[in-house]
Amino acid sequence: MTDRFAFAARDNAAADKPVENKPRWAETIAVFSKNKGAVIGFAFLLLMIILAIAGPMVSGYTYDGIELSRQNLPPRIQGIERLGIFNGTLGDRNMYEAKGYGGSYFWFGTDKLGRDLFTRFCCGVRISLIIGAISALLNMIIGVAFGLVSGYYGGKPDLLMQRFIEVLNGIPTLVIVSLLVIVLKPGMMSIIITMGLAQWTGTARLVRANTLRLKETEHVLASKTLGTSTVKILFREIFPNLLSSVIVIAMMSVPGAIFMEAFLSFVGLGIPNPEASLGSLINDGYQSMLLYPFQMTIPAVFFALLMLALNIIGDGLRDALDPTQRQI
């Protein structure tokens, strides 16, 4: 086997291959899916979204159908009722049979006007999620625009813009939000607008700080020396590189917005009847908490779980998107 010791044919092209790494998105997904909490949270969020979309269709009831003869029925679910829970009994009485609804099933029970609470719950989730998502988007758009301009131009404009943010921050959010909602009349649109207006300052500051850092990086300097226009530098060089941190902070602001809406509903400034949000459902249930605890407990538990899920997803996303956290 002497030819094994002959010189090998030289193939120079083979010598200069790029390092094969996974694409960034695949790596992000890989890191995210390693985080069990985040995956469970994500699954829960998906479930809630499906409920919000499809729930009212499968329940067979409407969210505003009033029927006083079936008021305050406890939860009753097919199948599970045999286990002794969710069987429609309050104390020892089966309320469904007592009120003449022996064949009906209200999964989450009914409220004091006889509306199906499951359908109302699904609509509530829908409205809460919409409020959370749109206000986060609004927050992101205003915050990014403000932060980019302030950070990139620096100097006098930056000084003025930062003072403006400080003045805004000086007024308690709750005061702004309550006042705005009163002025704009309660309703989903006005809640979204106020939420967007109240929350963007944090995003703007984060974006500004990142912009200050990024505008000194060599790839931005390189763009400047190549004569690239400022707008292009802002949106091609700087914005994509701070997108991940913006996504994370926007994600984190969703539960804040939902929470704020719930708070407003709770003090009576939220979504007006007959529409429902998670907050207004909890508020309604709270009024008859001692007699019919299920009316408050169910939305409250789901509300808490949703908050938890959103926060855990936010954490998972930060770990997955933030390159400083990534290993090698």
Partner: protein, 355 residues
């Protein structure tokens, strides 16, 4: 294990991998190293060759995604030969780190805590490991600063790291490293972050201290000029393996591995006229993939067919000189050192003889 009298550290078949999102990265693939008392062993290699990972394994600095796949690091701990890899983090900190083996990092800025005074950081080891009183430790700290060439050591003790220049900071780091009279110091590119004029001074300082205190040093660098200045013995690493080792004289003047040739040739020769620099073609291999045969084969213009099939064993050339290349096999075609390198070596030797 056979430990001859002079050996104080013996690394056997060390393999280290990292669990990454793109798979397992085999950073160190079977490294054997011995370190003798009072000598300087330089580990040379490019970034990603595994030289820093090897050193960190000795220090017990384990990343969360790091896996020690095989091997042992034998060290004489109070008369008992111990495998450092088997010690817990706590045992490492209380018995080994700082006290017997200490490390000097590349960046002196991050090696010092910006919120604590120089004095506090310098005397910390003395108080913990040597159980010195606060006052005695302080006095010793002043002596140490004096020893590493800091003027006005007493004032310096009260200062914070940001008051000092980069070179001064590195001197403080060195003072802290020698504070507990360690047997071994691991220097991980200690001068790369410093200015050239300061770099030379720091190297000279490390050498003087070493001689005085009889410390063994593992010196990690990619700069062959630095190696020539400090090293007694040299190990050349490529893709997680030691491809050639020997005394500094053997590595610089009788190199046998084509990679060592390439490294030596890619140094600009300050004394020679304008010749084109030699550069090793291509890039280092990606250690996420399995390496078959010789990892250097694709960049090696002297590659043999067997290099693509089978990993080269270690061939012993002399008592101190070893090379892992099929070219050293008796059946391999005889290869001379490249002409350009031969001339450079001759020039260097005659230059050395003159002095």
């Amino acid at each position: 294990m056979q430990v001859d009298s002079g050996t104080i550290l013996n690394i056997q078949k060390l393999s280290v991998a990292f669990q990454t999102t793109s798979g397992e990265l085999n950073a160190v693939r079977g490294v054997d190293l011995t370190l003798r008392r009072g000598e300087t062993l330089a580990i040379v290699g490019e970034s990603g060759s595994g030289k820093s990972v090897t050193a960190k394994a000795v220090m017990g600095l384990r990343d969360s995604n790091q896996i020690i796949k095989a091997g042992e690091i034998l060290y004489d701990l109070d008369g008992q030969v111990t495998d450092l890899l088997k010690l817990t983090k706590k045992q490492m900190i209380s018995q080994v780190n700082g006290r017997r083996i200490s490390m000097i990092f590349q960046d002196p800025t991050t090696a010092l805590n910006p919120l604590l005074t120089i004095g506090y950081q310098l005397t910390e080891g003395l108080r913990i490991h040597r159980k010195m009183s606060r006052k005695a430790a302080w006095e010793r700290g002043v002596e140490l600063l004096d020893e590493v060439g800091i003027t006005q050591p007493r004032q310096c003790m009260k200062r914070y790291p940001h008051h000092l220049s980069g070179g001064m900071r590195q001197r403080v780091v060195i003072a802290a490293a020698i504070s507990c009279d360690p047997e071994i110091i691991i220097c991980d590119e200690p001068t790369t972050a410093l200015d050239v004029t300061i770099q030379a001074k720091i190297l000279e300082l490390i050498k003087t201290l070493q001689k005085k205190m009889n410390i063994a040093i593992i010196y990690i660098t990619h700069d062959l000029g630095v190696v020539a200045k400090v090293a007694d013995r040299v190990a050349v690493m490529y893709a997680g393996k030691i491809v050639e080792r020997g005394t500094a004289y053997e590595i610089f003047f009788e190199p046998r591995h084509p990679y060592t040739w390439g490294l030596l040739l890619s140094m600009p020769d300050i004394n020679a006229a304008d010749t084109r620099l030699y550069s090793i073609p291509g890039s280092p291999p990606n250690l996420l993939h399995k390496v078959t045969g010789d990892a250097f084969a694709v960049r090696n213009e002297y590659a043999l067919n067997i290099d693509y099939e089978e990993e080269p064993p270690v061939f012993k050339l002399s008592g101190t000189h070893e090379v892992a290349s099929w070219l050293a096999h008796p059946d391999a075609p005889a290869i001379q050192i490249p002409e350009l390198l031969r001339r450079q070596i001759e020039a260097k030797i005659s230059h050395g003889d003159e002095q």
